[in-house]
Amino acid sequence: MRKWMFLIVGVLVLACCGQGLAAEKPYAGQELRISFITGMPTDVALKSVIPEFEKETGMKATIIDTFYGEVLTKNMVDLYAGTGAYDVLHVESIWFAQYLPYLYPLDEFMEDPRLFDAAEYDMDDFAAFSPLTLSVFSREGKLYGFPHMAGVPLNWYRKDLLKKAGLKPPQDLDEYYNHAKKLTQDTDGDGKIDIYGIALSGARSGLVDEWLSFFFSFGGGLHARPELFLRTTFNNSIGLKTVEYYKKLYDEVAPPESLTWEFGEVGSAMQRGVVAMMWNWTCGGRWYDDPETSTVVGKVGANTFYPARFGLNALSIPVDGPKKEASFEFIKWAMSKDIVRKTTIAGGPNPARASVVNDPELTKKYWWFPALRHAATRWARMYLEIPEWSAIDDALAIEFQKVCSGEISPEKALEVASNNAYEILEEAGYFKE
């Protein structure tokens, strides 16, 4: 009889333990397929701490990497087909409008006390970084993604070269050009330029962000709503000044091949020591101090003096994702204070949490964080968040590239680009009564 009692008690204890474990790891055994962008430093860093998530939750996270240039196409085709190929998506804010119909709002999970404790999670920490951090991924009061990484382009410069030339970091675009002119040098006297004053992000996919940064800096503006767009929004004296300025930079102080470069190649040029300054995103900030790949360790500084796009990315859940609660669990984990800090330390220096960007210990390691904070609060802005933005972006980039390569005049380029942009919006129906 006593044996039976022991047996029954034992079974009950085991069952309770099992239930306890199940309650602790409710999604154990599930596999999450997560779409990341190849080589994006924050994604790479997050991947390195994912084993912790797997250990904590009993879930398996499978990362599907896609190159930046192809990720939108690949994901959109899958989302339209409703294949349920992904449980979590890395969404770039500039494509948010295209992704939006396929994203599941997170509010349902955030309002469930079983899944989320808002006070403990400290959502205000995101908003404290920049007012845009949460608003960019919100529509009609609903949040469609937790901010995964946030960056703003800064002016990166070689401290040693500026010092040698007796210059201080530029504070406006005139100084930027004048400094670049002085820093463009043939160091060995063989008649070829060895160090260029700047590098441009002149590739079709990178040019417009940089151009708009200069356009805003010269006093240009972009309407808040597409309905207000005019043929003269870009085609005006400021637009012309910006195109001419961009061409002047390309012709006189930038490597000729930078018409095919975007942020990776521009960063690589700085690492190789062939450029003295550059407009570039903060996500590559760590590259310049990497002794394995950089020849300019400790020689690079950063400041900010131009408005620029807020390069915010989020982790979101697709509507056709079959494991939404488990996906939310991953997003919540990945964007928690502790993991954002760990990811930042592991080499993803684009935290979207103010507490991490303000961390004195991290600021010592990532010396550009003060400039990033300043840029995020003072200069960061968004463009028109509409599905047609990619087409407008290309319409501008194609014509401005033609100017740089000497095919057409700045006036002609602005006229064609502005008309094309207007017609894209007109065809999409934004100007109907």
Binding site: G69, L259, T260, R272, P387, S390
Partner: protein, 306 residues
């Protein structure tokens, strides 16, 4: 045989003749179903799409019938004509170069006298064809780099350059032609070599007996006999070059401006970057029509010549 027997017999025969044998239809039904699902249905679907306005970035908005508006937009779009010109120049020049180099190499390797290390050379020559086009783009991208690319290194040794290969419209176009020629000359070489090796030797022997010179043999024997193979090689390569995508996508992305953009990149840009699916479908149909017309004209000209 009685009259009735004859009548019954002919009736049985008629019955047999009228009875449809469904076996052949059953045998091809699987292939027909696959053909319908994978080829005919998508063709009909995309044709229908080309008369509509639809974007996968706005899945909530249904297809809107726009008639021939997408086609009209294609023909009034100045970029389209520039891109068609790019595509034709690219296709004709790359196929021409591949043919000239490939044929030369095939003639060299088809000689009876063996070249030393011929086996190794032949394998080395066909290697580029084995590399996926996207990797060809990547390889040439590094080869064209101004600071550390091998092309500029060679030019530097010759005291020329450096050249920024992908930033100037005309040079960038030459750069993509060179990469495509490098990749697909082996195809031309292999096909023409196989053709040359299959030609009957007795005609050559009798030509030599008749005192024909090497040029005369080439002009009046080799070329006419090889014409069908040349035609197939040129058509296959032209169709392939016309729809080039991967290599240019990797190498220049169509830039600077639209200097190296071809029709496939333009379709991709409209369909999968702007998600203007109706316009992209109309572009695809026009590209299809152009290639069908071009191929048919070519075949007719060739038939007339032979």
């Amino acid at each position: 045989m009685s009259c009735r027997a004859i009548l019954t017999g002919s009736y049985e025969m008629m019955k047999m003749q009228n009875k449809v044998d469904i076996t052949p239809y059953l045998l091809i039904s699987a292939a027909a179903a696959i053909l319908f699902v994978l080829t005919i249905y998508p063709l009909i679907y995309s044709l229908a799409l080309s008369f509509h306005k639809f974007s996968i970035a706005r899945p909530g908005v249904a297809w809107r019938f726009v008639g021939v508006k997408n086609y009209a937009k294609v023909f009034t779009d100045p970029v389209f004509w520039r891109i068609i010109l790019n595509t034709l120049i690219f296709s004709c020049s790359t196929v021409g170069l591949q043919f000239a180099i490939g044929f030369g190499l095939a003639l060299l390797f088809s000689r009876e006298v063996q070249i030393r290390g011929e086996g190794f050379l032949r394998t080395a020559l066909i290697l580029p064809m084995m590399v996926p086009p996207i990797l060809v783009g990547l390889i040439w991208l590094f080869m064209y780099k101004k600071d550390f690319g091998i092309v500029n290194n060679i030019l530097w040794m010759l005291n020329v350059g450096p050249v920024t290969w992908l930033s100037k419209p005309f040079i960038a176009f030459l750069a993509i032609i060179a990469a495509e020629t490098w990749e697909w000359t082996p195809f031309m070489f292999l096909l023409l070599l196989a053709g040359l090796r299959s030609l009957p030797s007795d005609i050559y022997e009798s030509s030599e007996v008749d005192g024909a010179s090497t040029w005369q043999i080439f002009r009046y024997v080799t070329l006419p006999l090889l014409k069908p193979i040349i035609a197939v090689a040129l058509i296959i390569r032209f169709m392939d070059a016309f729809r080039i995508f991967d290599m240019i996508f990797q190498l220049t992305g169509g830039g600077p401006g639209v200097a190296t953009e071809t029709i496939s990149l333009y379709i991709y840009r409209n369909g999968f970057r702007y998600f203007d699916m109706g316009f992209a479908a109309a572009l695809s149909y026009i590209a299809l029509i152009i290639i069908v017309i071009f191929t048919n004209v070519y075949i007719k000209v060739l038939r007339r010549a032979t």
